[in-house]
């Protein structure tokens, strides 16, 4: 259960492991409260995520709002099949680049 953020110019690489839920709230807030830059690109590695709940989805939506809403450029990568199912069920495939 950890979150790791690496910034490189306008690219922000976030890698999450374990259960993605409200306990990551504080860590995630740091990303959200960091100053926004125009054209920022977020890439979230969820390869090690075992499970997620609705607060995780809420946090991802807040990140999308921060990154510009409909113009946001966020990739969610390396998801497990069941995680992809859950994201699709919440219609996230229309808002994020899921793979």
């Amino acid at each position: 259960m950890s979150i790791n953020v690496v910034r490189k110019d306008k690219e922000v690489n976030i890698s999450i492991s374990g259960r993605f839920d409200f306990s990551m709230n504080n860590e995630f807030r740091k990303i959200l409260s960091a100053p926004s830059e125009v054209g920022e690109q977020f890439s979230i590695d969820m390869g090690a995520v075992e499970d997620l709940d609705s607060s995780a989805l809420g946090m991802l939506l807040l990140l999308r709002e921060k990154a510009g809403g409909d113009t946001a450029n966020i990739k969610i990568q390396k998801c497990r099949e069941d995680i992809i199912e859950m994201l699709k069920m919440a219609n996230f495939q229309t808002m994020f680049d899921i793979s």
């Binding site: 807030r29 609705s54 989805l57 946090m59 807040l62 859950m86 069920m89 919440a90």
Partner: protein, 420 residues
């Protein structure tokens, strides 16, 4: 008929008394006598030859009479004369004619029964086929009503098809999920606000510490001021009162900041509790929603499949009902064989009646010949035989004149039936 003519020829030979051969014999004897008398005048030798020849002719005639006989011909084995056997035969004919008549009555009766039975059976078959046809039609209508759906339901209320229901369920499920996710998002946002608020409240505490430091310093200063006022004696008495008041104020200020500190601490606790509540609101397990949605999708697919299958089957049933309709129509058309059979039966009866009529005519002719036979006159006998022959010929003509069968069909294949 040919047999009959043979019999009449035989009777001619066996029963005559005076006929043409007798006349011919007397005529030839007269001619010979005339020739002999003529020749007597010319030549005796020639006379002798002609006399011998004449005697030869007479001898030949008697030899012939001896062979053929002028007496009635008899059966060599039984000794019954041909005229008697013909009489016997005529009796047999009369018997056969009566039998034919009896049989004919039976045939006509049975044919009429067949005709009636076929007619009744045909009528009942036609009725039951018609009933079957009506029921098949009703079945088809019902099937069409089911297939064309919900026309009746539409009139009463808004139609809810299964697929609409599934779509509604699916969209409700999506709305539910969306609501959960949005609630979580706003909850997380709210938690962040609460965190901010908590930070602000905590910063009030810092400020309170500064305030406490100031009031402590003020208290210390007031204490120093009252010490200095005591040293000044009588002159410092008024200052001492002021210093005491300042000290009281600083102490009040300290108490007040303590109270604020307590309230702030309580507020922090409250905020933390609220945060926990919001945390629980934000954190919803999404697995059960996935399962529910998966089940819903699966159920929807199954229902659609069942519905499609049912629709297909109902179409098939409707088609079968149509085929039954067609088959029953065909069967009713084929039932016209009943009419044909009835007509054939009537024709059979008519033919049978004709046979009976012919038989009656023959037996009448034979019976009328019996008295003449008893008298034994050859010429009258020949007349009777001829009249019987005429009856036979007219009978043949009568039978030939019977109209040919009115029904030419001998198969019941569709399209072969003509209506009469």
């Amino acid at each position: 008929m040919s047999e009959n003519s043979e019999h009449s020829g035989e009777s001619m030979l066996g029963t005559r008394r005076i006929g043409r051969p007798h006349l011919m014999l007397y005529l030839s004897i007269s001619i010979y006598t005339t020739i002999i008398v003529g020749l007597w005048q010319f030549d005796q030798t020639l006379l002798m030859m002609v006399s011998a020849l004449s005697l030869g002719w007479v001898a030949a005639y008697y030899i012939y009479r001896g062979l053929v006989g002028s007496t009635p011909v008899t059966d060599k084995k039984t000794g019954i004369s041909i005229s008697e056997s013909i009489a016997e035969q005529n009796k047999s004919y009369a018997l056969v004619a009566r039998k034919i008549d009896d049989e004919n009555v039976a045939i006509v009766d049975e044919v009429n029964r067949i005709s009636n039975m076929v007619s009744e059976a045909t009528t009942e078959l036609a009725q039951s086929f018609n009933t079957m046809n009506e029921q098949a039609g009703q079945q088809k209508e019902l099937m069409n009503a089911i297939l064309n759906g919900q026309d009746n339901i539409d009139e009463r209320s808004e139609s809810i098809s299964m697929s609409d229901f599934i779509d509604d369920t699916s969209s409700m499920m999506n709305y539910f999920i969306e609501t959960i996710v949005n609630t979580s998002k706003e909850s997380v946002r709210l938690v962040y606000k609460l965190d901010d608020l908590c930070d602000k409240v905590v910063s009030i505490e810092t400020l309170l510490k500064d305030l406490k430091f100031i009031s402590d310093q003020t208290n210390l200063l007031a204490l120093n001021a009252s010490i200095e006022a005591a040293r000044a004696g009588e002159h410092g008495r008024g200052f001492a009162v002021v210093a005491d008041e300042v000290r009281n104020l600083s102490m009040s200020s300290g108490n007040f900041s303590n109270q604020i500190h307590n309230v702030v601490a309580e507020a922090v606790v409250g905020i933390k509790e609220a945060r926990e509540v919001i945390d629980s609101i934000a954190s919803r397990d999404m697995r059960f929603v996935i399962d529910a949605k998966a089940k819903n999708t699966n159920l929807s697919e199954q229902i659609c499949e069942i519905q499609n299958e049912a629709e297909k089957n109902m179409h098939a049933v409707s088609d079968i009902a149509g085929n039954i309709d067609q088959s029953v129509g065909e069967a009713i058309r084929l039932l016209q064989f009943g009419d044909i059979a009835t007509q054939l039966a009537m024709h059979v009866a008519e033919r049978s009646n004709n046979i009976s009529q012919v038989s009656n005519e023959l037996s009448t002719a034979i019976e009328s010949s019996e008295s003449i036979m008893a008298e034994g006159d050859d010429a009258e006998l020949i007349e009777v035989i001829n009249s019987i022959r005429q009856v036979c010929e007219s009978s043949i003509e009568h039978i030939d004149n019977i109209k040919c069968s009115p029904v030419s069909q001998d198969k019941m294949e569709a399209g072969d039936i003509d209506l009469f």
